[in-house]
Symmetry: C2
Subunit: 339 residues, 2 copies
DNA sequence: AAGGATACCGGCAACGTTACTGGAAACCGA
DNA sequence: TCGGTTTCCAGTAACGTTGCCGGTATCCTT
């Protein structure tokens, strides 16, 4: 039945062009050692037959692939999208193409295929190097270049780009404290991620620095999703002596806070102030004051680093820290304590 | 210097496990024909050595790859992102992983690597099937499943999912006309794309149906980018007897119109009405009335179709048409003609 | 005109994997 | 005990490509 229309190989091209396979391979790879006439003829045949080289076979045999891999567990949330935008831009400016590898959901694969597996899969097989987002491990037994974005632990010998999560958090808190807030709620992120912990540290230290006692009741946990933003926000806003400000440790959760505030009939910033973290595009429209961590720039820079490593250009710094920056919009107001 | 730490192959595993290569391959692929004891031992060795199978080699040899390819010229614009969201969701629900292939920019590759090249590259090499977005051709000499999203010309034998571009455009225009508008500007999309032409047809036909003469001066061209939205908007708004409404043939360009309007000191909808097409997330925040074409749903459905084709489940319909729907927000107002 | 350089090209092996074939051992029923 | 299954595994041949080596012509130099 399925008569398997075998696809056209380099051998077919060689045969119809009346040359050897190696010669075809040479014109395919732009080697000089072939007569202009033969070359043109072969190119014609290639076009006629609609041949295109088999990536798998080529990858297996040769070194340079002009392909960069980007590994993400999920590509459908704003953070991932911003990363991709940055990577995409760097890719567009380069000679490389991009292969984004995803399983669609962090939770999809069980214990069998771990991060390491994915990386080796892509790296060994098919690309010249990979970018890993928020990886857990820091060492891989691969000979291929790897650049990590926001890794859990930075390893001095492995290139990585970070955001200054701690400082960003500190800044945001100082801003709120500077506005006169003393009771500030905090909605945390996924605890297994370094970024979440560092943002929490920033929260705690800022209060400590300002001499404000920490009320553990005001710290709730979340997982960076809108849903937990809603839950956390609701919890905080239902407290009797409710906080005058909330610091959500990412914008996605801050968006949840907006939603629950509206449902509860509370206005932002009139009834309470709100600060987020990330500066995803949506924040602009919401008027959310947040900490910009230049996500897409991180993707951009990481890609450039990777390309350098691939081309064996030495890196000035193995780890690059992108400075976060507070973006003040209109989700916060001064709190004078007299209301 | 670079002593090329050769990576671990199946042969290494076989040797240290004291079995043959084929046996290792068998446990790797979950074949039954191997003793439980041997199997466990091999799995242990695999874990110890940190082996992971070389995708390229496997792809070359075997049929099933559990991998779906998505080919996009650029992944950094809202339309592409929405598609990916949908595809991502379907992927997450399936046994397949996803490989997004992009060169980062439509304009990057010259004549050498065409759409066909990309498709065969990915399809022949490495994946079980591919999804192509807005492809120009309708036939490919590949034996692998292909599903197109919004193809230029639909071919009855090739699975594709469309939006009802013409009807959507017609609806939007009828809405504007129903509000009393007679001078309606139109900003067109990339002429080489079918969607652009069909939206323009909708514009023309709606006017014709309403008995309103077409003023060619009110039709300007664009290419679906914000930049041309700005230019087109400026051009239209500078006309002496300027249109009372503008229909931008996608949201991205409508966003450009917002920008230029603000710069010119014109308010929407007080000074003129605006309608877009696509319903990208940003539109919600802008309050833009637009035609929802359920982009992410298109990605979702296309992926499901592809998976069916791969699994040789017959499709009910080769081409699926997703109905567009007008989303009324607050960028339009009634025009009574007395101002 | 002869020797050497150069331009061009073909053949072979190898990349790491899986499909296929077949064969040894173990088991089973009588 | 013996033929026949069954279980398990090893060996070999591919898959489509490129790297390497070497072999012809052709051209240049003196």
């Amino acid at each position: 039945m399925n008569q398997e229309k075998r696809s056209i190989t380099i051998r077919d091209v060689a045969k119809t062009a009346g040359v050897s396979v190696s010669t075809v391979s040479r014109v395919l790879n732009g080697k000089v050692d072939v007569a202009k006439e033969t070359k043109n003829h072969i190119l014609e045949v290639i076009d006629d037959l609609g041949y295109s080289t088999n990536l798998a076979a080529r990858s297996m045999r040769s070194q340079k692939k002009n392909l960069i891999g980007l590994i993400m567990p999920d590509i459908a949330y704003p953070y991932a999208i911003e990363i991709m935008k940055g990577v995409n831009q760097a890719i567009a400016e380069s000679e490389f193409d991009l292969l984004v590898y995803t399983s669609g959901d962090v939770r999809k694969r069980g214990h069998i295929t771990s991060e390491q597996k994915y990386i080796t899969l892509l790296a060994k097989s098919i690309s010249d190097g990979v970018i890993v987002v928020a990886p857990v491990a820091s060492e891989y037994n691969i000979d291929k270049p790897i650049v990590s974005i926001d890794p859990v632990m930075s390893h001095p010998n492995y290139p990585a780009v970070h955001a200054t999560n701690y400082e960003g958090s500190l800044n945001a808190m100082e801003y709120l404290i500077g506005l006169g807030h003393k009771r500030i709620g905090f909605i945390g992120g996924r605890v297994e991620l370094e970024s979440a912990n560092r943002r929490l540290s920033g929260y705690r230290d800022a209060l400590k620095n300002a001499g404000i006692p920490i009320d553990e009741q005001l710290i709730v946990s979340g997982d960076y999703t809108t849903k937990t933003g809603i839950e956390g926000g609701q919890h905080l806003l239902k407290i009797n002596d409710r906080p005058t400000a909330i610091f959500a440790s990412n914008d996605q959760m801050a968006m949840g806070v907006y939603q629950i505030a509206e449902k509860m009939g509370l206005r932002i910033p009139e009834d309470f102030s709100l600060v987020g973290f990330d500066n995803i595009p949506e924040s602009k429209y919401l008027g959310l004051t947040t900490v910009d961590q230049f996500i897409s720039k991180m993707g951009y820079v990481a890609t450039q680093m990777l390309i350098k490593v691939i081309n064996e250009i030495p890196l000035e710094d193995q780890t690059l820290r992108i400075k976060t920056q507070l973006v003040v919009r209109n989700s916060c107001r001064r709190y004078s304590g007299d209301q």
